[in-house]
């Protein structure tokens, strides 16, 4: 039986048709995945279902009855909850206070309503227990929780108001593998309790792991809805991008890496996030550093770039380096493309041009004055090389898609002829097409002799792109793998090593 039916929904923003007549049926109690490139209309569709946006045309039927949502509250009251990538929790408040936010339980004392903390705590615990969510103390503050536990709190909040349909926008984007597994087992539990789940994801592998059916959107149109066992990952990808792409990865270039080439060496690096890290990087090599979130690889990358304090020695071309701030790394041609581009990679209020120039103004200016012609030429050349899609170099970067933003971050370092590029989750939140282009860019750079440290939680990415893989767990390197004969399981085994004991 269809719990939710969407009939010819249309939506446009400033004349751009974002949804061009979507028809979609969701069966009661299923886990329905929605996939599509960035800009396909997934989020807009979900926001319409959850009452955050109103459609221009079309109807929504819930349990066969037509509904009209004018606000998220309307949808919530009908049992539909949307869980965003950015959580709507208040960090200073506790788990139970967040779960009951806006509908606090009260008791009367001397004719005055006071909040009934005891009862709220007890009921919050009940909700968590019912759905198999363990290990979250209800009176801990949200800001002290891990991302995964924040998300589970958000889910518990939705379930505590008897949501029948749970919509999740990329719930696994920030989770470790183990946390993802845990989330999936909780989702399975919810399903058996009759909750219908709509799930947006960029990670196609995990859709095959948990979804019952999958709907592919492209350019505001619904391409197809398939049972998960009737479709392959390649078919989904080709439906998403509209052309068949046999391989999600570009052909590997033929390159020769000299074994003895001691180009870049890390000796006994330690900090509060990692211990005794030793490795070397050869010229033109792509070295994958895999691991679960929190294993210390991001902190290692940021330390090498001078953003964090550490002890130990770093050698570049045989010479000992002294890195205490980003400028030290930049001067030696070592650049970081950070995990969170909004946090560390871009100044969102500034334009494409200004972001591109930010670390390069010394090259573009004469006696302190910015030389406009040199600057503009550099921006345009880089944009063209990376196939970045922008309307103008004066466009603000916060209006760009994730893929194009990432190309701005990558591009600004190209100007300085990198020796080593540290790419931390370079394709996070980026659509398939842009991913392919970033992979190709990595191959091109490494063929030119640029060494790349690739940090990624997407195992297929690490296995396909790397010349060599290091795996980290609990701040230590737990093993080295040759991607030619290693599997995802091999990486995972090393990634949890030392965790169980």
């Amino acid at each position: 039986m269809d719990i939710l039916k969407i009939d010819n929904i249309k939506k446009s923003f400033s004349g751009v048709n974002v949804l061009k007549g979507i028809n979609l049926s969701i069966k009661s109690g299923e886990l329905h995945a929605i996939v599509g490139e960035n800009g396909a209309g997934k989020s807009t569709l979900m926001k319409i279902i959850a009452g955050e946006l109103e459609p221009d045309a079309g109807k929504i039927y819930l349990n066969g009855k037509e509904v009209q949502f004018h606000s998220p509250l309307d949808a919530i009251n009908s049992g539909i909850a949307l869980i965003h990538q950015e959580f709507s929790l208040i960090p200073q408040l506790t788990v139970y206070e967040n779960i009951f936010l806006g509908r606090e339980i009260s008791k009367k004392f001397l004719g005055i309503n006071f909040v009934d903390k005891k009862k709220m705590k007890r009921e919050a615990e009940d909700v968590l227990k019912t759905f198999g969510i363990e290990n979250i103390p209800v009176d801990s503050k949200i800001r002290d929780l891990s991302v995964a536990n924040k998300q589970l709190t958000e889910i518990a909040k939705a379930l505590s108001i008897n949501s029948k349909i749970l919509i999740m926008d990329e719930p696994t984007a920030a989770l470790t593998l183990r946390e993802t597994e845990k989330l999936f087992s909780i989702l399975a539990n919810l399903k058996s309790n009759g909750v219908t789940i709509i799930f947006i994801s960029h990670r196609l592998e995990e859709i095959f792991q948990i979804a019952d059916s999958v709907t592919i959107l492209r350019n505001g149109e619904l391409i197809d809805t398939k049972k998960i066992n009737e479709v392959s990952i390649e078919e989904i990808v080709s439906m998403m991008i509209g052309k068949s792409m046999n391989n999600r990865f570009p052909p590997k270039p033929v390159k020769k890496i000299e074994d003895k080439d001691e180009f870049f060496e890390i000796k006994n690096l330690s900090s509060d996030a990692f211990k005794g890290i030793n490795f070397s990087l050869r010229k033109g090599e792509i070295l994958g550093i895999a691991g679960l979130v929190g294993c210390g690889n991001t902190q290692l990358a940021e330390s090498i770039y001078g953003l964090r304090k550490f002890t130990g020695e770093i050698y570049l071309e045989g010479k000992k380096m002294n890195i205490s701030k980003p400028t030290d790394a930049i001067e030696h041609g070592i650049f970081l493309v950070p995990e969170d581009r909004h946090d560390l990679g871009l100044v969102l209020q500034l334009s494409v041009k200004e972001n591109h120039s930010l670390p390069n103004l010394d090259l573009f200016s004469k006696v302190g004055f910015v030389a406009s012609t040199i600057e503009k030429k550099s921006v345009r050349d880089t944009i063209a090389y990376l196939n970045t899609k922008i309307s103008s170099i004066n466009q603000r970067v916060d209006n760009l898609s994730g893929g194009n933003q990432q190309k701005i971050v990558l591009g600004k370092w190209l100007v300085r002829s990198p020796k080593i590029l540290i790419l931390d989750e370079p394709t996070r939140g980026i659509d398939v097409g842009a991913k392919f282009e970033i992979y190709r860019f990595m191959y091109e750079q490494s063929s030119k002799g640029v060494s790349i440290i690739l940090i990624s939680s997407e195992l297929t990415e690490v296995l396909n792109l790397s010349d060599r893989i290091l795996v980290m767990s609990e701040g230590r390197i737990t093993g080295e793998l040759n991607p030619r004969n290693a599997t995802q399981e091999d990486i995972l085994k090393l990634a949890v090593k030392g965790k169980e004991s």
Partner: protein, 314 residues
């Protein structure tokens, strides 16, 4: 979509000023809408705009400088006191400007190195500097200033009031620095995203300290013009100026969250305040009511900007 919120921020304020001028021009064509009155308005706005330009540098880095009025007051007193004591005009000006920059640097060091939030840091220095001024002057105005000193605030150069020339110079310098130089880019970047700026190799503390020093310098110049205009250095002359300076910057569309703003906007913001004061005085509106109207206009302008922003973003 082509009309971005940047457009509304940038040009809305121009229409605002034009609207206010049109209103007063209709109400008072004979007094308000005359060339001599516009020169008077420019003269009246020059001190506030000098302070506002410095304030803008600070606000662009997502900071705030509440001490600009206090610095202006102290500088006026120190410059006047030095001139009276030594008889040397240039020594007095140098002492005043030096004091202004010094207190700006102190603000900057407190914000950049002691990591005290700018609001608290400059609130504290504002209070301390006001006290220092009272101690220095013993609460008495300093007068008997030479006529050479009066020239700065009262004299003309080629028929143009010297204070307007100073304001124009400061405006051109600020524009060039913010719009054309590497340093200016760094100011916007630090205000927009301090972490990304650090990761791009920008020296954050250098930028932070320098914007407060620039604010101190411009407050000093403003303070000297103020003392010279009055012909005496009043110990409390600068009080309240910080609010008009912040108002001018915000009216001009600079974001209090940093990273966004346009120098021309600050000038127009300063003029809006000056035109309102001038026009209402001509219309014989009591100064008590003037304050109320000024407050409402600032509120309205900021509300319109954020409304426009929402509207164009939809």
């Amino acid at each position: 979509m082509t009309l971005s919120n940047g457009f509304v921020r940038k040009y809305g304020v121009i229409f605002g000023l034009a609207g206010i001028i049109t209103f007063f021009a209709i109400e008072s064509p004979n007094y308000f809408f005359t060339a001599s009155n516009f020169i008077l308005i420019s003269k009246q706005s020059s001190i506030n705009i000098l302070l506002a330009l410095g304030e803008m540098f600070v606000i662009l880095t997502a900071g705030i400088d509440l001490s600009v009025g206090a610095i202006a007051g102290l500088v006026g007193a120190v410059a006047a006191g030095t001139i009276v004591a030594t008889g040397n005009l240039f020594l007095g000006l140098a002492a005043g400007i030096g004091i202004g920059i010094a207190f700006g640097l102190i603000n900057g060091v407190i914000v950049a190195f002691a990591k005290v939030p700018a609001f608290i840091a400059t609130l504290a220095t504002m209070s301390a500097i006001t006290g220092i001024t009272l101690i220095y002057t013993q609460g008495e105005p300093i007068w008997n200033l030479p006529s050479s000193f009066d020239f700065i605030g009262q004299g003309n150069l080629a028929d143009i009031p010297f204070s307007i020339i100073l304001m124009a110079l400061a405006f051109v310098c600020a524009w060039i620095i913010l719009d054309r130089t590497k340093y200016g880019r760094h100011v916007y970047a630090v205000g927009g995203n301090i972490k990304a700026s650090r990761a791009a190799g920008i020296k954050i503390s250098g930028v932070l300290v320098s914007v407060y020093a620039i604010s101190g310098l411009l407050s000093a110049i403003g303070g000297i013009v103020l003392a010279s205009r009055l012909g005496t250095a009043e110990p409390t002359a600068g009080s309240g100026y910080e609010l008009d300076a912040i108002a001018a910057v915000v009216l001009g569309g600079t974001s209090l969250f940093g990273g966004e703003g346009w120098v021309v906007g600050t000038i127009i913001g300063g003029y809006i305040i000056a035109v309102l004061n001038n026009g209402m005085t001509i219309m014989n509106i009591s100064s008590y009511y003037q304050e109320v109207v000024k407050g409402l206009v600032i509120l309205l302008a900021v509300m319109l900007t954020s409304f426009g922003k929402k509207y164009w973003n939809e």
